[in-house]
């Protein structure tokens, strides 16, 4: 039996994009307070799963529940209101808004005072404070990723979903980003659903992992189990089998 509460449960989710089935009946659970990662090759359907949870794509069938409540097919605004936020692939900060405005817009649905949260984000990412009046479009890729994470934190979510946060970043920055994810999880107690192509890094920081292949979940286990699995090693970690 599960010892922890499941924050998010997905049962038999199927999603089609213009006639092509991108997700074919997957099920997964995200326990509260954990980092769960979804790894797999390009086009495996990982991003589609996150976009469906976020309400950007409507599922064909299946059920998504959040804290026991069915949230399948509700609007993105309601999803954000309930405490789920998505850091989209490619960061997607608003380039001609300032860093500070980008943070403020992350808290768009909130009506209370934002100053404490802005300070909290600045403490986490001092670089952003130095650049708070700069337009987000002028930041480096790594800084934009920090901003995208900071912006997500501003809505005070319970669950942050991250789509390929390491994509297009220099290896040294990728390490920083992974540290940030761990910090956010440990210090803020945030539950994280992480989609990554960089399986090695993702599995090392994750409590649980799922392997996604052509729209199906083919394997699951703790981060460690998957890291040491021969098939995963061969397919995603660039190490050949039986050696």
């Amino acid at each position: 039996m599960m010892t922890k509460n499941n924050l998010l449960t997905i049962e038999n989710l199927s999603v089609s994009y213009g006639g092509i089935k991108a997700v074919k009946g997957i099920s997964l659970t995200v326990p509260e307070g954990e980092i769960v990662t979804l790894i797999g090759a390009n086009g495996a359907g990982k991003s589609t799963i996150l976009r469906t949870i976020a309400g950007l794509v409507k599922p064909e069938s299946g059920k998504i529940s959040y804290r026991g409540e069915d949230i399948t097919g509700i609007s993105t605004t309601s999803i954000v209101e309930k405490g789920i936020t998505l850091v989209p692939e490619g960061r997607r900060v608003f380039p001609d808004l300032t860093v500070l405005e980008n943070l403020k817009i992350g808290a768009y649905l909130r009506k209370d005072n934002l100053q404490d949260d802005i300070n909290r984000v600045y403490k986490l990412f001092p670089r952003l404070q130095e650049r708070s009046w700069q337009l987000a479009g002028t930041l480096s890729g790594g800084e934009q990723q920090m901003l995208a994470v900071g912006r997500a934190l501003m809505s005070r979510p319970k669950l942050i979903m991250m789509d390929e946060p390491s994509l297009g970043l220099a290896p040294i920055i990728v390490n920083d980003i992974m540290n940030i994810i761990t910090t956010v999880n440990k210090e803020e107690g945030m539950t994280i659903l992480l989609v990554e192509q960089n399986a090695n890094l993702a599995l090392r920081i994750a409590h649980r992992g799922y392997v996604c292949e052509t729209g199906r979940i083919t394997m699951e286990g703790t981060g460690m189990e998957l890291l040491n699995d021969e098939n995963v090693k061969a397919a995603y970690l660039g190490k050949s089998k039986n050696k």
């Binding site: 976020a54 309400g55 950007l56 609007s75 993105t76 605004t77 954000v80 209101e81 936020t85 998505l86 989209p88 997607r92 608003f94 380039p95 001609d96 808004l97 405005e101 403020k104 817009i105 992350g106 768009y108 649905l109 479009g137 002028t138 912006r151 809505s155």
Partner: protein, 293 residues
């Protein structure tokens, strides 16, 4: 031409330009957020003229003006909900065709309801008061139009740069999907954009028709097209650009008429369009493209 007649013409030109500027902002805002040239905008402006005629039949102008603004805003928002919103994920050409259809629908509806004969635009007594500065005399509306335009543009810029809804507008205009992920209800933001555009068109209509005395179902066509040119001249998507574009076109047109070339004044505007598109397609204040990879 004496100095005072020159001033007189410049004043008239600036005043016409102010009305153009108010309409041009509607084009530029809708383009900024939906990447759509709202061809029905000139006809919304025309309808505002008719609304004013009917409102003034039984109401004093103090009540008629706000009422006309409200009705025009409702018209603009309803058009967006009915004709553009269902096409949000359709190819851009479809929504453009829908806009052209709405334009003709409004013209024909107005012809059907109000006949094609010009209707006299009611006089708003205080706007018609003759005002004199030195040797230059004009009705008050000529003085008020540019001032009101500038006040409205300053207010609008404040709204866009310093309020929450303005921030949402800037976000939605860049990236629909990420704006949604912030919890922004993009349909509300788009409605707000149409509401502002239609409100400015209503104000523009009242000022413009007060000077021209009559409205026909086709009164919106040419001013609409000219204001579209003004928006392109200023750099479509830029609000200060649309204002400057409006003033430039209003001034040039009036001066051409004053010099005796009234036959060419419309041709001038559209020649200007071709020249801008050839040599500076992003206009005077157009969006710079600085995308970082």
């Amino acid at each position: 031409m004496t100095l005072s007649t020159l001033f007189q013409h410049i004043l008239t030109g600036i005043s016409l330009g102010g009305a153009y500027a108010l309409i041009a902002i509607g084009y530029t805002m809708v383009y900024g957020i939906l990447r759509l040239i709202n061809f029905a905008h000139g006809d919304i402006f025309m309808m505002a003229g008719y609304f004013m005629i009917f409102a003034m039949v039984s109401l004093p102008w103090q009540i008629a003006i706000p009422l006309v603004c409200i009705i025009t805003v409702i018209l603009g928002v309803v058009i967006e909900r009915v004709a553009y919103k269902p096409l949000r994920s359709a190819p851009r050409m479809s929504i453009m065709i829908s806009a052209i259809a709405i334009s003709y629908l409004l013209q024909n509806l107005a012809t059907y309801l109000f006949t094609a004969l010009p209707r006299a635009f009611p006089e708003i007594p205080f706007l018609k008061k003759i005002f004199q500065i030195g040797n230059v005399s004009s009705s008050l509306v000529t003085f008020i139009t540019p001032i009101l335009t500038i006040i409205l543009v300053v207010g609008l810029m404040f709204l866009i740069n310093h309020t929450k809804i303005g921030m949402a507008m800037r976000a939605v205009s860049k990236d629909f999907e990420t704006a949604q992920l912030m919890g922004i209800r993009i349909n509300n933001v788009i409605s707000a954009t149409f509401a502002i555009g239609s409100f400015l068109a209503a104000v523009g209509a009242i000022l413009y028709f007060t000077d021209r005395m009559s409205v026909t179902p086709f009164s919106g066509m040419l001013p609409g097209l000219k204001c579209f040119v003004a928006a392109v001249l200023g750099g479509i998507g830029s609000i200060p650009g649309a204002m400057v574009g409006g003033f430039v076109i209003g001034l040039c047109e009036t001066i051409l008429v004053a010099m005796g070339y009234s036959t060419f004044s419309d041709a001038f505007t559209f020649t200007l369009l071709i020249i801008i598109l050839l040599f500076r397609p992003t206009g005077l204040f157009g969006e710079k493209i600085i995308d970082k990879v």
